[in-house]
């Protein structure tokens, strides 16, 4: 879980930054994009209209230059039955037909001569007798030699037909160029322009309208409503602004203006701010939604990943704790993937294995070392004692005391055998007592009256095991440092039993005893080197090495009274 938190912080931060930026810049970007897009569209529309007019202009030029057209316009009423006239009519008709066939957006092509001749499309087409041409601006302009264009109007020149057209008109001059002989006009289907404007998609509520250079509406999707006074359009501001865009006075619409240099037409794209805002809101919703989704998906995925990483790590940690406590019997299961964690667990297992081996090795070495130390500490038969005993045997032999010689020799041989039998480290209390008994028997024979002894050991401790050669050195001490130095000899008592859960063996002498200071020093230092013998220090050390510091030797002594050594050993319980 702790791994998850930085993960999540990272994810939340990233997504938050992304969302804040997209949401805050969304509106601005949207408006700018919309403005650019609208500008492109109106420029394009204007370009398309330009090419239309250029095309019409070209057609007009063709007709204006046509000799047949000029000839036709100059025929007089009386010549209309001639073959020349008929031929001329056919040729003009053919020309018009060809032009109209190539361009299906051309409604009418017509010429009207000052001599009363006219031809609209073909000879069969009748002019509307009620059409008052003098009221039509395209006619007036062409007649006065100007380039006439009527951008959007109802063309009533053909009888019974009232189409909406864009009309281009020109004066037609005589072959010599000196005299104006008539007017030509081309009607383009107004729908071409209107559908062009409708095709431009400025959202659901946006629209396109066109003004001519005088500010007159050429196309507006709601022309009717504007003329009816229901709606107003910001035509004046459009004309004032020129190319570019501006907000309407109420701030609800954005006008994008494109003026054509060729035609002077102004194409205006209008987008509603409300729609842009709605779109921007929708985008914002979308961004937020995506952010929430990303967040939840990322959280989910990171929980999964974190679990896969942290679970084995947690296991590893738990195992480490075990190791800290000293339990090395651990083998972690490898989660089964080959990544850093897997390697780590593998290494951990190998390390624990190594540690286990090392510990075992150290344990073995320690045991070996202790064994050899114990060997070193183990008391040996004092050579003085051996010498003295052998001396005593010789002396007794000379005195022919056969019985005593046999007894002493057999005791000595028992002692020696015991001490040679080094294979066992531990013996029972009874064995140890037996050993001491043999030793004391020899000493008794040597000192005779000067030494008395008694052994009284409880049956309960006879089978208790204890270190070998512990009692003998202590008894030796009691003789040499206690009883021997006393005038008239003394007595040694060995007692044994169980006390407070411990096996206690006491060696009490009524010898010279020790003062407090000597007693204190007794267990403090290894005097083996000084004396060349195994001292009580070593005995004590051995016991403690075997059984722990609560066991060992305890001395009580006072000068002139005697010394008591207590040997404290574990008591294993009744059943043993």
């Amino acid at each position: 879980m702790t791994l998850l938190i930085p993960f999540l912080i990272l994810i939340v931060m990233t997504i938050a930054i992304y969302t804040v930026i997209s949401v805050s810049r969304n509106r601005e970007i949207m408006f700018r994009t919309s403005a650019d897009y609208t500008q492109q569209l109106v420029d394009m529309a204007n370009g398309e209209i330009d090419s239309y007019f250029l095309n019409m202009e070209n057609i007009a030029q063709l007709i204006m230059q046509s000799a047949d057209v000029k000839n036709y316009l100059l025929f007089r009423e009386k010549d209309k039955n001639t073959a020349d006239y008929l031929q001329c009519v056919r040729r003009v008709e053919q020309q018009f037909k060809t032009l109209r066939d190539t361009r299906n957006d051309i409604y009418n092509i017509g010429i009207i001569g000052w001599r009363g001749n006219y031809l609209i499309n073909d000879e069969a087409t009748e002019m509307n007798p009620y059409a008052d041409l003098t009221r039509q601006s395209w006619f007036q302009k062409a007649k006065s030699g100007e380039e006439g264009v009527a951008y959007s109007h109802v063309q009533n020149i053909v009888k019974d037909r009232y189409p909406w057209t864009v009309t281009l008109s020109r004066a037609v001059w005589s072959q010599t160029g000196g005299e104006e002989i008539g007017v030509l006009f081309i009607d383009m289907n107004y729908e071409t322009i209107s559908s062009l404007c409708q095709k431009i998609n400025l959202g659901k509520t946006g629209y396109v309208f066109i003004l001519d250079s005088d500010g007159k509406l050429v196309y507006h999707p709601k022309q009717q409503l504007i003329y009816g006074g229901v709606l107003k359009e910001e035509t004046i501001r459009v004309l004032e602004t020129g190319n570019g865009s501006f907000y309407s006075a109420d701030g609800q619409k954005i006008y994008t203006v494109s003026i054509s240099r060729t035609t002077g037409l102004t194409v205006v794209g209008v987008t509603k701010v409300a729609e842009l805002l709605q779109k921007s809101r929708q985008m914002k919703d979308l961004f937020l939604l995506v952010a929430v989704l990303l967040l939840s998906a990322a959280t989910l995925v990171s929980v999964l990943i974190a679990d896969r990483i942290s679970d084995p790590i947690r296991d590893l940690g738990r195992s480490m704790k075990e190791v800290e406590k000293g339990n090395f019997d651990i083998n972690l299961e490898n989660p089964g993937f080959h990544n850093v964690i897997g390697d780590l667990i593998g290494s951990f297992n190998i390390m624990i294995g190594h540690i286990r081996e090392l510990i075992q090795q150290i344990k073995d070495e320690q045991a070996e070392k202790r064994k050899s130390e114990l060997m070193a500490l183990q008391a040996q038969i004092n050579p003085h004692f051996l010498y003295n005993t052998l001396d005593s045997i010789i002396w007794m032999s000379e005195a022919k005391k056969n019985e005593e010689v046999i007894q002493m020799t057999s005791s000595l041989s028992k002692l020696l055998r015991r001490s040679i039998m080094n294979d066992r480290e531990f013996v029972t209390v009874s064995e140890e007592i037996d050993y001491v008994n043999e030793y004391l028997r020899i000493q008794k024979m040597r000192y005779y009256d000067k030494l008395d002894y008694g052994i009284q050991v409880s049956e309960r401790i006879l089978n208790v095991t204890m270190g070998k050669m512990i009692l003998q050195p202590l008894v030796e001490n009691a003789i040499y440092h206690g009883v021997k130095l006393k005038e008239g000899g003394g007595r040694i008592d060995i007692t044994g039993g169980e006390e407070e859960g411990k096996t206690v063996i006491r060696i009490r002498d009524d010898g010279v005893g020790m003062d407090a200071e000597t007693l204190k020093k007794l267990l403090l230092q290894d005097r083996t080197k000084a004396t060349g013998r195994v001292g009580v220090f070593n005995v004590n050390r051995r016991i403690q090495l075997y059984y722990g510091p609560e066991y060992g030797l305890k001395f009580e002594s006072s000068p002139g009274v005697g010394t008591t050594v207590s040997i404290l050993l574990p008591y294993p319980g009744e059943e043993e």
């Binding site: 109007h153 109802v154 909406w164 209107s194 022309q223 409503l225 009816g228 006074g229 939604l289 989910l300």
Partner: protein, 338 residues
């Protein structure tokens, strides 16, 4: 190991759910965009076989489209099919639209059906005509009194004490007819008493023809004929032409059928009073939308009318009105369903 598998499966399912949920949400977001904001049912007097009613419908469609509102048009076959309109009103009420826009074909006879609209608490807009009892929240119509008085304007210079004026009206008792006649009288002023006869065509050009012929028969020295709607105008004009009275009787027509326009162009009519039908439809639906949004627009809106003569008919503002230009998009929709 097992628990882990279950968990990863659970996570997979969760992820799938999340993706599904998000797809639905995004779809919902996009859908919200295309949803119509409101539903309006418009019941005109008749099908769009007549120019006037098709212009009204075109204006209505534009307003609906602009406001992203769904508009259903339920038209009776004929203007005189009052029972048919009543049935359509009941059908519309059953569909529970946000607003109903209605051009009542009778001033009194469809009251019971209109009461159903009121009972269902559906806001009601009258377009073009009204009923005697004012049931509607809003009325969008030509101010017929003003329109009627405009009809008098072109003949005023020719009037004298002995002039004889005839009126060919459409349906007796219908508000539009009566108000236009009232307007004509107002416009004529002191010459109002020169009206020698009023006939009714019941919005049938044939009947208009016969009634006009009858009127001329009764008053052979008739100098002026004022016609109060499209069918009355064309029927009367035909009768006058056929009886050889063309040029003798000065006529003023109403509305702008192609036939009337051609007569105007060749001088048959002194003038036409043209209602702004497109504006009427547009404003009617716009007001209906206001009602749907809970706003209370002003009770009565005049959609306007214009007096058009031979000399001003090709002016920008008038040719737009006389020859409404409908791009392909609208005309194709006119026959389709919405």
């Amino acid at each position: 190991m097992k628990a882990e598998k279950v968990r990863s499966r659970l996570a997979g399912a969760l992820l799938l759910l999340l993706i599904l949920g998000s797809v639905l949400l995004i779809l919902g977001l996009l859908r919200r965009d295309t949803e119509k904001t409101c539903r309006i049912i418009y019941i005109p007097k008749r099908k769009e076989s007549n120019d006037f009613w098709s212009y009204v419908a075109a204006g209505a469609r534009t307003a609906a489209r602009e406001n992203n509102c769904s508009l259903s048009i339920m038209s009776p076959e004929k203007e005189s099919d009052i029972q048919g309109q009543k049935e359509l009103i009941l059908k519309a009420v059953a569909e529970k639209p946000d607003v109903i826009a209605l051009a009542p074909s009778s001033e009194t006879e469809i009251d019971d059906a209109i009461e159903k609209i009121r009972a269902a608490h559906i806001p009601l807009v009258y377009i073009d005509s009204e009923t005697v009892k004012d049931f509607a929240d809003v009325v969008v119509a030509t101010d017929n009194v003003t329109a009627g008085s405009k009809m008098a304007v072109p003949i005023l210079p020719y009037l004298n004490e002995s002039s004889k004026i005839g009126i060919v009206s459409h349906v007796q008792g219908v508000s539009t007819a009566e108000e236009r006649i009232e307007g004509i009288k107002k416009g004529l002023g002191r010459f109002a008493d020169r009206i020698v006869g009023t006939v009714y065509s019941n919005s049938d050009p044939e009947l208009a023809y016969r009634e006009t012929a009858r009127l001329i028969g009764e008053h052979p020295d008739l100098g002026f004929l004022l016609c109060t709607n499209e069918d009355a105008s064309t029927g009367a004009m035909k009768a006058v032409t056929d009886l050889g009275y063309a040029g003798k009787i000065r006529m003023v027509g109403f509305d702008n059928s192609m036939e009337e326009i051609e007569y105007l162009e060749r001088g048959g009519f002194e003038a036409l009073v043209v209602q702004r039908a497109y504006s009427m439809g547009y404003l009617g639906i716009e007001k209906a939308l206001d009602l749907a949004k809970g706003r209370k627009p002003i009770h009565r809106t005049d959609s306007g009318s214009s007096l058009i003569t031979q000399s001003n008919m090709y002016r920008d503002e008038n040719q737009e009105l006389l020859f409404p230009f409908y791009p392909q998009e609208y005309s194709s929709q006119a026959n389709g369903t919405e």
